[in-house]
C-alpha cells in the first residue's frame, strides 16, 4: 500500500499552504479560463498572459484540495517566463507522468514516452506520488487541463 508520505510530500503541503501566483489578472490582455472537476467539485480559474509566444504572467484562483491547489501553484511557477513551446512540452511530460496508472488500468493510446527524468520537473516531480492514488490524479491534472485550454484560446485570440 502506498503511504501518505508518497502523496503529501513536504513541498506539496508548502505550495498548498503558501500558494504561488494566487490572484487575478485583467482581461484582456490576460485570458481567463475556468476548470472544473465535477467529480469532486474542485474549480480553478486560470489567468494567462501570453506575449510573443512567451507566458509573461499567470495567476490562479479557485478552490480545491491540497493536491489540486499545489499542482496549480507549482504549475504557475514552472511556466512563468517560459515559451509556449516549452510549456507544451512540459504539459506533455506532466500528463505522461500522471497517466502511468491510467495506463495500467488499460487506457489505450497513451503516448509512449521514454522514462521520465524527474530532474527536468523540478518541484513538480513531487507530484509523482499521486499516481499511486488513482482518484487523486484528476485533482493533480485539473490545472494542467485548464492550461491546455487557455493556450488554445491564446493561440486563436
Amino acid at each position: 500500500m502506498a503511504g501518505l508520505e508518497d502523496l503529501y510530500r513536504e513541498i506539496i503541503l508548502d505550495h498548498y499552504r503558501s500558494p504561488r501566483n494566487r490572484g487575478e489578472l485583467t482581461t484582456p490582455p490576460a485570458i481567463r479560463v475556468e476548470g472544473f472537476n465535477p467529480l469532486c467539485g474542485d474549480e480553478i480559474v486560470l489567468y494567462l498572459e501570453v506575449a510573443d509566444d512567451i507566458v509573461t504572467d499567470v495567476k490562479i484562483s479557485g478552490q480545491g484540495c491540497s493536491i489540486s491547489q499545489s499542482s496549480a501553484s507549482m504549475m504557475s511557477a514552472a511556466i512563468k517566463g517560459k515559451s509556449v513551446v516549452e510549456v507544451r512540452a512540459l504539459i506533455r511530460s506532466f500528463k505522461a507522468m500522471m497517466s502511468i496508472h491510467e495506463a495500467t488500468l488499460g487506457e489505450e493510446g497513451v503516448e509512449e514516452i521514454g522514462p521520465i527524468d524527474p530532474d527536468s520537473f523540478g518541484e513538480l516531480a513531487a507530484l509523482q506520488g499521486v499516481v499511486k492514488f488513482p482518484v487523486r490524479i484528476k485533482c493533480a491534472t485539473l490545472s494542467w487541463n485548464t492550461l491546455v485550454q487557455a493556450l488554445e484560446e491564446a493561440a486563436t485570440a
Partner: protein, 416 residues
C-alpha cells in the same frame, strides 16, 4: 473514552459476522464509516449465494427439472422477503427486482412517465434528492417539456413544507427521498403524501437510505411507489427493488423487452407477461435476489427497531464528540438529540478539503466518503462543492467513533 449509555446492540458479536470488518490495513483494523455508499455483507449473505451456486443454480421460471424449480423458489423467496421488509401488501405481484434502485426510478419515468406526462405536466421533487431521483426526470423533461418543481431545503436541513400545497398543486407525480444521503434527515412523509393525494398526484418515496436503518411500512405511509437498493442493506450488488400498487403497475407499459417479460412474441407484435415478470426482462439477478433475502433475514433477526435505537444513540454520541473536539466543525444536518435524524453525518473541518480529510483518515484505516454524494443540487444549496461524510450502521460503535476523532486530529495537525 466516553461510552454509550444504552448498549442496544452487541456490536462486538455483530462485527464478527462481517469478514471485511476484521481486516487489518497497515496494522490497523478497518473502521468502516461509509455504509451510506454501500454497506458490508455478513457471512450469511455470502453463504446463501455460494450455497445457491454450489447446489441449485439454473435459469429460473421455465426449467422443469428439480434444481431449476428450486432456483426459481429461492429467487421468488428473495422477492417475498423484499416485500415483507416494507410490508408490501402483495409482494408476489408488486415487487419488481431491478439491478439497482436507479434502474427502478428509470423504469418509472420511462413507463409511467412517458405514458402519463405531457408537455407542461408537473412533477415535484426535492432539492435534497440523490441524482437517481433527479436525472431520470430531467431526461423526461428534455423529451417532454414537463415542469419539475422542487421542495426547498430550509436552513435547519429539513424540507420546507410551508408552501407544500402550493408546490404540489396540479402535480401528477411527487417523488421525494425518504431519508437524505447527505443530511441524515429523515423526511416527514405524512404531510407530503397527504398533500400530494389531495392534489391527485401519485407519490413515490426513495427508500435507499431509510430501509436499511428503520422499520418501513409502505401501507401505513400510504405510498403509491417505493424503491430501495440491496447493497446498502448488506445485500449483494446488482439488485434493487421497486414496489408499486398493482393497479399502477398493471397500467404501465413494459420497460425492457426480452425473455421472461413476454406472454407471446410474433414477428410483428408481442404481448406481456403477468406481474411482476412483465418488468423483468432477461435472466434476472437470481443469486442477488437470494443474497438480498439472506440480508433481510439478518436484519430481521437483529430487529430494525433495535438497529434504529442503536444508530440514534451512536449518532448523538458522534455529533457530540465531533462538536466538542472540533469547535470549527460545520455539520450539515440536524444536531444531536434531533428527531428524525439518521446516522449520516456530513461535515466540513474548517477549510480542509474533504478529499484531504478522507485521504488522511484512510491512513488510519477509517473509511469515509468525500465528495458531492451524487447530490449536486443539494451541494449548491449548501454552498459547498463537497463534504466529508461519515455514516453509521449496526456494526459501528463508539470505538469506531473515537478512532475517527483521533484521525481527524491528525488531519488538522497535517493541514493547519
Amino acid at each position: 473514552m466516553a461510552s454509550l449509555e444504552v448498549q442496544t446492540l452487541a456490536v462486538e458479536a455483530i462485527k464478527a459476522d462481517f469478514p471485511l470488518l476484521s481486516r487489518v490495513q497497515a496494522g490497523r483494523k478497518i473502521v468502516f464509516l461509509d455504509s451510506a455508499a454501500s454497506a458490508q455483507r455478513p457471512q450469511a449473505v455470502l453463504d446463501a449465494m455460494d450455497d445457491y451456486y454450489s447446489t441449485t443454480h439454473a435459469n429460473v421460471h421455465r426449467g422443469v427439472y428439480a434444481i431449476a424449480e428450486e432456483a426459481t423458489r429461492r429467487y421468488e423467496e428473495g422477492r417475498l422477503a423484499a416485500g415483507r421488509l416494507i410490508n408490501a401488501p402483495n409482494p408476489s405481484r408488486e415487487i419488481i427486482l431491478t439491478k439497482n434502485v436507479t434502474e427502478a426510478y428509470n423504469l418509472v419515468t420511462y413507463t409511467w412517465g412517458r405514458k402519463n406526462l405531457q408537455r407542461g405536466d408537473v412533477v415535484v421533487l426535492t432539492e435534497s434528492e440523490h441524482h437517481a431521483n433527479i436525472v431520470p426526470w430531467l431526461m423526461l423533461k428534455a423529451e417532454r417539456e414537463i415542469e419539475i418543481r422542487y421542495l426547498r431545503v430550509n436552513d435547519d436541513f429539513r424540507l420546507d413544507l410551508s408552501n407544500l400545497d402550493e408546490v404540489v398543486r396540479d402535480a401528477k407525480f411527487v417523488s421525494v427521498t425518504a431519508a437524505s444521503n447527505v443530511l441524515g434527515t429523515i423526511t416527514d412523509l405524512a404531510p407530503i403524501v397527504a398533500a400530494a393525494h389531495r392534489a391527485g398526484a401519485l407519490v413515490m418515496a426513495d427508500g435507499a437510505q431509510l430501509v436499511p436503518h428503520r422499520p418501513v411500512d409502505v401501507q401505513a405511509l400510504d405510498l403509491d411507489l417505493f424503491g430501495y437498493t440491496g447493497h446498502k442493506l448488506m445485500g449483494p450488488t446488482g439488485i434493487g427493488v421497486l414496489w408499486a400498487r398493482a393497479e399502477i403497475l398493471e397500467a404501465m407499459p413494459p420497460f425492457l423487452g426480452g425473455g421472461e417479460m413476454i406472454n407471446d412474441v410474433r414477428l410483428d407484435s408481442f404481448t406481456t407477461n403477468e406481474l411482476p415478470w412483465k418488468f423483468e426482462a432477461g435472466t434476472p439477478p437470481i443469486a442477488e435476489s437470494i443474497g438480498l433475502g439472506a440480508a433481510i433475514k439478518y436484519l430481521e433477526a437483529i430487529g430494525l427497531d433495535r438497529i434504529a435505537a442503536h444508530e440514534a444513540a451512536l449518532t448523538d454520541y458522534t455529533l457530540n464528540r465531533l462538536t466538542e473536539t472540533f469547535p470549527e466543525i460545520e455539520i450539515f444536518g440536524p444536531p444531536a438529540g434531533a428527531d428524525r435524524r439518521g446516522g449520516v453525518i456530513s461535515f466540513k473541518l474548517g477549510d480542509i478539503h474533504p478529499h484531504d480529510v478522507a485521504q488522511v483518515l484512510d491512513e488510519h484505516a477509517v473509511c469515509v466518503r468525500a465528495g458531492h454524494h451524487c447530490a449536486k443540487p443539494l451541494m449548491r444549496r449548501l454552498g459547498v462543492n463537497a463534504t466529508t461524510r461519515a455514516s453509521l450502521y449496526l456494526y459501528n460503535d463508539e470505538h469506531d467513533v473515537e478512532t475517527l476523532i483521533e484521525a481527524l486530529v491528525d488531519v488538522k495537525r497535517m493541514f493547519q
